[in-house]
């Protein structure tokens, strides 16, 4: 029997892969999707509706098996078993990289933070404005219809805000402000900083067959009713219903196969359980494995035609790795709320507002750094009184103080983009192979001056906001979180018109290999002050349309 040749093989089923799969399947193309992990069962794998005391380790997870360097909300008892432990990576000397990955179907969209703001021309044309690096090969005008399409598909709650860095979209009603939001907004006003409803891909009302959010508050542990956007709830069902999708799970992509002309002919993968290698053939290949994994797969795809990795004639594959610098820039409490009755503040895992970029808006060089950052505020009554270490003593007075402080905690987190740097890239470790026998990615990454200046600036502003709001500042981070913490890495397969400098063209098609496409944040020129998911969806939608045209 001749081997089946699919129209398109898509590696990855997260935001990019999911959108490509849906769009291509609905257009009638036969798609084979490869996903490196298993399918999740919402009722079993998402434990967000469980009380802490119903879990053996009270939600903290088994100290023996839990990945120690992960933040509390990842790989905890609520979503244990969904995070990658097997596919290892190495870091170059001096690089700290904390890399939580979800290999389950849908990837990180199962647990993401849901902030979904459009990029703007101030982002796409940043190089023209400030003279650093290169512009994106697209304009906001070209992208706007794709953003609109995506917002209508997934449902984003926000308001019209008329800010130059934040084009407005099509929105569901916003989340209501809680006490702490009004207080912090007043404080922000006095400092001259915006404090507004975030763009949240979380349904404040039923939308397109998806139920409204019920505001239980444990979103980062997954949602078993599908009230915020994730690929398995919003994209994959339509693809499966089309009858055009074959999903292969536990299929760890190893390399892209090429024909005698050096064009992509399929993908070799390892079955996670049997450890056997398989090949699947297709007329086109979409790589959507997330930034670093996509680069790794392509760098590991060496052949006579592509001795340095497929589609790497520019030598830029794996380069220009960017990330978001994250740090707690101020935390403390609001004395106004001391002793107040508890209030359901944790409706969107505690963050429903944002302080969108306010720096370098009128002129690119107003500040000592170029471009800009945003800040996410959160706080109020959450499940666990993590402020306990700010209260000294023990006994009844300690217990009373924990109760009195319960509605009051606030915390501001900076999200600052890194600039592309020659020091920050991914290559293949020449020695190390993972448990599947696949050479590992090696990550090279250092914070640069620009983002570290933003961090200091954000600390000053955050302290001022908290003080102006009448709050008490108790803590600000000395050092940012480790690189990788944000899960927002970009770059490695950047898009641009010049085939000598960029891996992909303005449509995400690789310059070298006409039937090879990249659909994740690796095509982005750099990170911005905004999160990546909404833009991955919009760019993928555009790439998928382009790919379909090539098929006609």
């Amino acid at each position: 029997m001749p081997r089946q040749i699919y129209d398109v093989i898509v590696i990855g089923t997260g935001a990019g892969g999911g959108m490509a799969i849906k769009t291509l399947c609905e257009a009638g193309l036969k798609v084979c999707a490869l996903n490196s992990g298993r399918r999740l069962d919402p009722e079993k794998d998402f434990r967000n509706h469980r009380n802490s005391w119903e879990m053996k380790y009270r939600g903290f997870g088994d100290p023996k098996t839990r990945m120690k360097d992960m933040p509390d909300f990842l790989d905890s008892e609520y979503n244990q078993g969904a995070w990658e432990h097997d596919i290892a990576y190495t870091t170059a000397p001096g690089t700290k990289w904390m890399w939580p990955r979800c290999s389950a179907v849908g990837g990180k969209t199962n647990f993401w933070g849901r902030s979904a703001a459009r990029f703007a021309d101030i982002d796409f044309k940043a190089a023209t404005l400030d003279g650093f690096d290169a512009d994106w090969p697209v304009t906001y005008g070209e992208m706007a219809p794709y953003y609109t399409h995506v917002e209508k598909m997934i449902g984003v709650a926000s308001t019209v805000q008329n800010r130059p860095s934040n084009p407005d979209g099509v929105y569901l009603p916003p989340f209501n402000f809680r006490c702490l939001d009004w207080i912090l907004q007043k404080g922000s006003e006095k400092v001259g900083v915006p404090y507004l409803p975030d763009r949240l891909a979380q349904l404040t009302e039923a939308h397109d067959g998806h139920p409204a959010c019920h505001f239980c508050g444990d979103c980062t542990f997954g949602c078993e009713v599908g009230a915020f956007f994730s690929s398995p709830w919003f994209l994959l069902p339509a693809a499966e219903a089309s009858g055009n999708l074959e999903m292969r799970t536990n299929a760890v992509a190893k390399n892209i196969l090429v024909d005698e002309n050096g064009r992509a002919s399929g993908v070799a993968y390892i079955d996670r359980e049997s450890r056997q290698e398989y090949e699947v053939l297709g007329r086109a290949v979409v790589v959507a494995a997330s930034c670093i994994e996509s680069a790794r797969i392509m760098l590991n795809s060496k052949s006579r035609h592509w001795p340095n990795g497929i589609a790497n004639s520019s030598g830029q594959l794996g380069h220009n790795l960017c990330d978001h610098l994250y740090a707690t820039t101020a935390s403390g409490y609001l004395p106004q709320l001391l002793g107040q009755p508890s209030f359901p503040d944790n409706v969107g895992a505690n963050s429903i507002a944002w302080m969108p970029r306010w720096q370098n808006l009128e002129h690119a060089h107003e500040e000592t750094f170029v471009r800009g950052y945003s800040v996410y505020p959160d706080g109020g009554c959450s499940e666990f009184p993590s402020y306990h270490d700010q209260i000294e003593g023990f006994g009844s007075s300690f217990k009373r103080e924990i109760k009195r402080r319960y509605p009051t905690p606030v915390s501001l987190t900076v999200q600052a983009p890194t600039l592309p740097s020659g020091k920050n890239f991914v290559d293949i470790d020449p020695k190390a192979k993972d448990t599947f026998g696949i050479p590992m990615a090696r990550i090279h990454f250092q914070w640069g001056d620009n983002e570290l200046k933003m961090f200091q600036h954000a600390k000053q502003t955050s302290a001022a906001v908290l003080h102006s709001a009448g709050g008490v500042l108790e803590y600000a981070a000395e050092e940012p979180e480790s690189p990788g913490y944000s899960l927002h890495e970009t770059g490695t397969c950047r898009m641009g018109d010049d085939a000598r400098k960029f891996v992909t063209n303005r449509f995400g098609q690789t310059h070298d290999v006409g039937n090879l496409y990249v659909c994740d944040a690796s095509v982005f020129l750099n990170s911005t002050d905004k999160t990546t998911t909404l833009s991955i969806l919009a760019f993928t939608l555009r790439t998928s349309e382009y790919l379909m045209q090539q098929f006609r």
Partner: protein, 204 residues
């Protein structure tokens, strides 16, 4: 609107399923902790729980420390919530914690014998409190106590973790989450955005 009520039923069903998986068997107080929480004093009796990691004397000490850190007063405390069982479980799963707890407990008794002539558990309640204060309040810190302070901080952290993840502890805080809300909860004091004039709270 009809759609909404189906949705609500669905959520209640899911919540009910979640509640069904409730208790982990093998602990004496967690299941109990969900039930009767009154008459805290009656609970001061030897636990039937068999520690996984701690020796019996160590465990008795842990139980007393958690009780001193979050006592039963007008509301139930750490002992009612079975916090020492949680501490034992967590410590049993982590070699570093085992070392820190074991050496810390030993420091406590050695130090108590040295300064007051008795093991910690042999002190009366007031003496125990006075003994712990220099480990817990900055103003009372003493040089030479560093290891003891580190240990006390560790015990306190695990006591807080165990208590405020128990049903008793979350009831104490009146934890408002994991509930169904028809719309996103909204601040009830819109006429006072800065919240300068709230009613002085009726703290329980």
């Amino acid at each position: 609107m009809a759609g909404q009520s189906i949705e609500r039923r669905e959520i209640l069903r899911i919540l009910a399923v979640a509640a069904g998986v409730a208790t982990f068997p093998g602990f004496s107080k967690w299941s109990f902790a969900c039930g009767h929480i009154s008459n805290a004093l009656a609970q001061i009796k030897p636990a039937v729980y068999r520690p996984v990691f701690f020796t019996a004397p160590e465990y008795a000490l842990i139980e007393r420390l958690t009780d001193l850190i979050i006592p039963a007063d007008d509301t139930p405390g750490a002992r009612d919530a079975g916090v020492s069982e949680f501490v034992d479980l967590m410590v049993s799963r982590d070699l570093h914690l085992q070392r820190d707890f074991r050496t810390g407990l030993s420091w406590l008794n050695t130090h108590s014998r040295k300064t007051l002539g008795k093991a910690f558990l042999m002190l009366d309640a007031d003496q125990q409190t006075v003994f712990l204060e220099p480990l817990a309040y900055k103003k009372k810190f003493r040089t030479g106590d560093e290891r003891g302070r580190e240990f006390f901080t560790l015990v306190r952290e695990y006591t807080v973790m165990g208590f405020y993840t128990s049903e008793i502890g979350l009831k104490e805080l009146d934890f408002p989450g994991l509930k169904f809300y028809a719309e996103s909860p909204s601040c009830p004091h819109k006429d006072d955005p800065e919240h300068r004039h709230l009613d002085p709270a009726t703290s329980k």
